[in-house]
């Protein structure tokens, strides 16, 4: 194939970003074409590349970028099934997000820079996915981080956006520090930064410190893919515009960590300890985030915690040694989570609030946004994993992988020995994945019911005017600039349906071995009967529990006087005493604040104090000293001639004495 095509795929959005930034102020009319067209063309080119690559093949091309005195850095391309599959996802979601944004941010004065940054972000993700050199991958990784900072902080007029963007940046960078060292260690051990060389070194056993490398790399994965303990930035990042959340925090950036582990799977398979650590991280993340999602009042925060949990699923699949199922889940999740975020944007725009409890007091909401209502329904069913939607197949593949790993026969599909995956990892993942399936269904149902099917308990139906969020809710509504006249502008509507199709049908591609699996490592992605029954049963159980709790809570509230105010929340009922903790993320933020933020702030205050009182004192003292010296010297100029003469003669006498004594 012509190498120009895979090179153009990341290059076009980058050029579009540069052009957008350059012409944003002077030619605002060009902003929208420059936003949509390069990404759309790139998406098409990605499809062409995928078709031309075919199945079971990979493409490698490299040119040396710079010698370093150690392993060289080369500008390398490595295309295989994983790369093209994820690039398809990225192209599709990015194009739809750009189209959606043209309506969502219609009146935003900073739209050109926003669109340019989204294009740049897309280019960086393409770079990460196509890159065959670890340092170039790192470049794309970091560009995504900085674009994420800018995009989350798009509405920097609000305090929430500013602090959220900074928090996201710092937490992901905290994970990136060990990540960088891991890459360096990997390059040093393998003698090269090229992915092919590294993988060859791994399979041939030439890596000297696989556990260390794997653990260091896991730091970056935890940061980027929002796993415990570096997950705290994702819920707060919802302060950014909703299309940004759809692109970055559902489909692409958070998927980069999963992609990295999948790409470097041979390295991870060399270290059982790293796999167990990954399994534990995934387990804690899955269950914790699901419980938190059950307690959130903000629609986007529910989706954020849901993302964190679903990423935990993917991490769990990786910990069980099966990268095919992880990538399968990744693509499916990217599609339906993007769908969910985009529909959330429409709903929030129509309801003028993020709060589902406030939405529950607007009975006419679902009639105002019918497309979003149904699209969200499709997305939630896909999330819960009910057949035959995407989530079902991908979730079953994860269960299968975990079950096989638990029995010692991990589905590594030839990437490494099956015995490399410890059974403990498999069990941890299996148990928590089951629990999480239940909880996922519960919170999805809760969100759906509370937001769209709330009964205005005793209050008049004209509660849509009083759309203020519930007191004490830990968020603030984002600034929404879509056209206030229509509840569902056209450009915000049909991307939803475009995404709904793969949300429903993508999973079917895993059924036949010569469809999706041939693109990946081979082997089967078909669900087995036991896991299907288990998974579906758990999901249905979750739905029923949530529904029952909702009815009970509704009944209880109807029984109590209407002055209560708080709408029926099944989450409160289900979680009981844990509700308060779950609502605030189990206090992890508070812990970090006490452990890191407050000491750093105190140290900064100390430094400020020292600078002001100690260092400045010296500086001021220099001035004061000079002043004092001047005062002293001025005293000698008092104009009194006798004093001058005095000094003169005293000096003369002194000189005479010195001369006399000296000689």
């Amino acid at each position: 194939m012509n190498l120009a095509l895979p090179i153009l795929v990341p290059a076009l959005p980058a050029l579009g970003a540069a052009a957008g930034l350059a012409t944003g102020k002077r030619f605002p009319g060009l902003a929208r074409p420059l936003a949509v067209l390069p990404v759309a063309v790139s998406a098409v080119l990605a499809v062409v590349v995928a078709v031309q690559l075919g199945t079971g093949q990979s493409l490698d091309a490299a040119t040396r970028l710079t010698p370093t005195g150690g392993p060289d850095i080369s500008l390398a391309l490595h295309l295989d099934g994983f790369s093209v599959l994820i690039s398809l996802l990225v192209g599709l979601v990015a194009t739809l997000v750009q189209i959606y944004s043209t309506a969502y941010l219609k009146d935003d004065p900073r739209y050109p820079s926003y669109a340019a940054l989204v294009s740049l972000f897309t280019a960086a993700m393409f770079l990460v996915v196509y890159s065959g050199d670890l340092i170039v991958l790192l470049v794309g990784w970091e560009i995504m981080g900085i674009c994420s900072y800018f995009l989350i902080g798009h509405h920097w007029e609000t305090e929430d956006a500013r602090s959220a963007s900074l928090k996201a940046f710092l937490v992901t960078k905290l994970g990136d520090v060990p990540f960088v060292f891991g890459i360096f260690a990997l390059g040093a051990d393998a003698g090269s930064f090229r992915v092919t060389d590294v993988l060859a070194a791994a399979t041939e056993g030439r890596l000297g410190h696989p556990t260390l490398i794997a653990l260091l790399l896991l730091g970056g994965v935890a940061g980027k893919s929002a796993q415990f303990p570096l997950h705290t930035w994702l819920p707060d990042a919802m302060a950014g515009p909703t299309p940004v959340s759809a692109l970055i925090h559902a489909a692409t950036m958070v998927a980069a960590g999963i992609y990295l582990v999948a790409r470097l799977m041979p390295v991870f398979l060399l270290s059982a300890a790293a796999l167990v650590v990954l399994a534990v991280m995934a387990a804690v993340t899955m269950v914790g985030s699901a419980l938190c999602a059950l307690a959130q009042d903000d629609l986007k925060r529910v989706l954020a915690y849901s993302t964190v949990g679903q990423l935990g699923y993917m991490a769990g699949a990786l910990a069980s040694g099966d990268r095919d199922s992880a990538v399968f889940y990744l693509v499916g999740h990217g599609v339906f989570k993007a769908l969910l975020f985009l529909t959330a944007g429409v709903v929030i725009h129509a309801a003028h609030t993020n709060s589902i409890s406030a939405m529950s007091r607007m009975p006419g909401l679902r009639k105002r946004v019918p497309d979003a209502y149904w699209a969200m329904g499709i997305g939630l069913v896909a999330l819960m994993g009910l057949p035959p939607f995407t989530g079902f197949f991908s979730k079953e593949s994860v269960f299968t992988a975990a079950e096989h790993a638990a029995h010692g026969e991990a589905l590594t599909r030839g990437v490494g020995p099956a015995s490399a995956v410890p059974e403990a990892a498999g069990w941890i993942v299996l148990v928590t994945a089951c629990l999480t399936a239940l909880l996922t269904a519960a919170y999805s149902t809760r969100m759906w019911l509370v937001a769209f099917h709330g009964r205005a308990a005793g209050e008049p139906a004209a509660a849509e005017a009083a759309a203020a969020p519930a007191a004490g809710a830990p968020y603030s509504p984002e600034i929404d600039e879509a056209d206030p006249a229509t509840a569902e502008p056209a450009a915000m509507r049909w991307p939803l349906w475009v995404l709904a199709v793969p949300a429903m049908g993508f999973g079917l591609l895993g059924l036949r071995d010569d469809w999706l699996p041939s693109l990946l490592d081979g082997g089967s992605l078909r669900p087995t009967v036991t896991t299907s029954v288990l998974g579906t049963g758990l999901a249905l159980a979750g739905i029923l529990i949530a529904y029952a709790a909702w009815r009970t809570a509704g009944a209880r509230q109807a029984a109590r006087p209407a002055a209560e105010g708080a709408p029926a929340d099944p989450g409160r009922l289900l979680l009981g005493p844990v509700y308060r903790f779950a609502q605030h993320g189990f206090g992890v933020d508070r812990l970090y604040s006490a452990l890191f933020v407050r000491p750093t702030a105190a140290a900064a205050r100390l430094v400020n104090f020292l600078d002001r009182e100690v260092v400045e004192t010296y500086v001021r003292g220099a001035g004061t000293g000079a002043n004092a010296l001047g005062w002293l010297v001025r005293r000698a100029q008092n104009g009194n001639a006798q004093a001058y003469l005095n000094a003169l003669l005293a000096g003369a006498v002194l000189l005479a004495v010195l001369v006399a004594v000296g000689s």
Binding site: N638, G639, N640, Q642, N646
Partner: protein
């Protein structure tokens, strides 16, 4: 005569003159002390002239010249003192600090309108 006598006397007289120049407040008294110093120098000159038995009597000649210059000097000096007294109404050295640093100089006596009548 032992040379020490006139030499020491001259030295002591000179020091007394120095004290007077530096310690007296009235300008005229300062000028008087300057005369003392000059006389001490004269004494020294004469003594050394006698000791050296100079053929051209440089010491004595210089003494004569010193006396002349001192006379001229005191004449001019007193004229200046009179001028200062007329403009500043004071003959106080401590008050004549116009040339000092403005923040340090003591305020001198208010300069009254100059006298109209000459002595």
């Amino acid at each position: 005569m032992h040379l020490v006598y006139p030499a020491v006397l001259a030295a002591l007289l000179f020091s007394v003159g120095v004290y007077g120049v530096l310690a007296r407040r009235n300008v005229v008294l300062v000028l008087m002390s300057v005369e003392l110093m000059l006389n001490a120098v004269n004494l020294n000159l004469v003594a050394f002239d006698a000791w050296l038995r100079d053929a051209v009597h440089a010491g004595q000649a210089l003494t004569l010249f010193t006396i002349t210059v001192a006379a001229a000097e005191i004449g001019l000096g007193l004229a200046i003192v009179l001028l200062v007294f007329r403009t500043r109404r004071t003959a106080d050295v401590d008050r004549l600090t116009v040339l000092g640093d403005p923040s340090e100089a003591a305020p001198d006596a208010a300069a009254a309108e100059p006298e109209g009548q000459a002595a």
